[in-house]
Amino acid sequence: MPDPARKIPITVKVNGQPYERETEPRQLLAEFIRESLELTGTHIGCDTTYCGACTVLLNGQAVKSCTMFAVQADGAEITTVEGLEKNGELHPIQKAFADCYGLQCGYCTPGFMMSALQLLSHDSDPSEEQIKKAIAGNTCRCTGYQNIFKAITTAAERMRGSANGD
């Protein structure tokens, strides 16, 4: 009888860096990212697929990393909040969250920023409705969402500006 706790080797690329690790099949992707890779920017909030604090991009798509097993991410490219910053420069989404006071306690913020990243990677000029829909799977108990909304709008404007070479 094979042992269900037997660890399985997986390879993932996280924020551009390849990792080879072993994972127990029941280990959730969120736990794997936090404990095995020690990338603790990804937060676990509700752990019930509701709050979205654990959102990461899996091959460019936002997913709740508490609702996937790490073994399922074998071969995938993952982006976590740590992957936003480049060469010591905050990503425009991070800057906009800071400038617009898009956070208070900050616990949900990594998840919101990853949802915003999926949205802005596919649509550089989203409508108000599209922004609301993009963050409908993320819960914030402090801000009331208005400043988060402003932050994403601001990030979109700035990213369009820099894409135009301004």
């Binding site: 269900p4 019930t48 509701y50 979205g52 709740k64 609702t67 097993f69 829909k133 799977g137 993320n138």
Partner: protein
């Protein structure tokens, strides 16, 4: 939260997945999108000894139009259906795909997984019940096809045997002058709806030639409102006929009081959603472009 330990199997074909189910026995479950299964496993309501992962099987996610039908591979994600211009030819399918839970869940959840789970609050079974749909199933003895009306037997119970899985869902494109709409009312994006209504109809001038009405979350399975349909069929779609259809639908709902609302509240809500869905379906059947999204409290 950690689920109970299980043994992980990665299937390389749907046929192999079915064979693994047969070989591993009752303790084995399939893992498709996992957006319902994982929460259940974390709460230890589901404790499979073996999980057979379907996500690494190539060629199981597709949307193809062929000979008047749209075929969906069983692992096609809700988000892929939401973005598909082919699926948008049947607007009620887009309404459904674009409204399920939230972006993250739609990126993982699959049409085949949703049907095979048969959650009484699931969206797909309600919507597909108003269309001509064949569910292709694969088992140890090969493939067979089950009509959607025979697929869901009861809450969490389908026509699938233990070793069977859904391989494809094919939806017949409705005739000209048809329109449909799916409306679900939710307390927040990530939760299941409190009630939902799907309406698909075909017009002949101002007369309703054919119609199907189904309600979700107000019974152990989606409920067809056959008397509500009769109130519309072969009649002009005026306010009186629509009100009669909504009343008839309301009376066959079998809601239960729970944290989402009282039975009386859900019954009223279902009737109101049926009325609105008929109105939108009618406008779409006349060629009007109407955007629909799930309603939040």
């Amino acid at each position: 939260m950690y689920p109970r330990a299980f043994e992980y199997h990665r299937a390389s074909s749907l046929k192999e997945a079915s064979a693994l189910l047969a070989q591993l026995g009752e303790g084995a479950k399939l893992l498709a999108g996992g957006q319902s299964l994982l929460p259940l496993m974390k709460l230890r309501f589901a404790n499979p000894a073996h999980l057979v992962d379907l996500n690494f099987i190539a060629g199981t996610s597709y949307i193809r139009e062929e000979a008047g039908t749209i075929r969906f591979g069983s692992l096609t994600r809700h988000a892929e259906i939401e973005r598909s211009s082919v699926a948008a030819k049947i607007p009620i399918l887009h309404d459904c795909a674009a409204g399920i839970a939230d972006v993250q869940v739609r990126n993982r959840g699959t049409i085949g997984g949703s049907l095979a789970e048969a959650d009484p609050s699931g969206d797909w079974a309600t919507v597909l019940g108003t269309l001509e749909v064949q569910v292709r199933c694969l088992g140890p003895d090969g493939e067979h096809t089950v009509s959607m009306s025979d697929f869901v037997k009861d809450a969490y119970t389908t026509a699938l045997g233990h070793d069977d899985l859904v391989s494809e869902v094919s939806v017949k494109i409705p005739p000209a002058h048809s329109g449909g709409a799916y409306l679900a009312f939710k307390r927040a994006a990530p939760v299941y709806p409190t009630a939902s209504a799907a309406v698909q109809l075909t017009l002949d001038g101002d007369i309703c030639k054919d119609v199907a009405i189904a309600m979700g979350c107000v019974g152990l399975t989606a409920i067809r409102a056959t008397e509500g349909e009769a109130a519309l069929r072969s009649k002009p779609l005026d306010a009186k006929a629509i009100a009669a259809a909504a009343d008839a639908a309301r009376s066959v709902a079998e809601p239960q009081t729970d944290m989402r609302g009282s039975a009386e509240y859900k019954r009223e809500l279902a009737g109101a959603l049926v009325k609105r869905a008929i109105e939108i379906a009618m406008r779409r059947a006349r060629g009007e472009h109407v955007e629909v999204s799930h309603l939040y409290a």
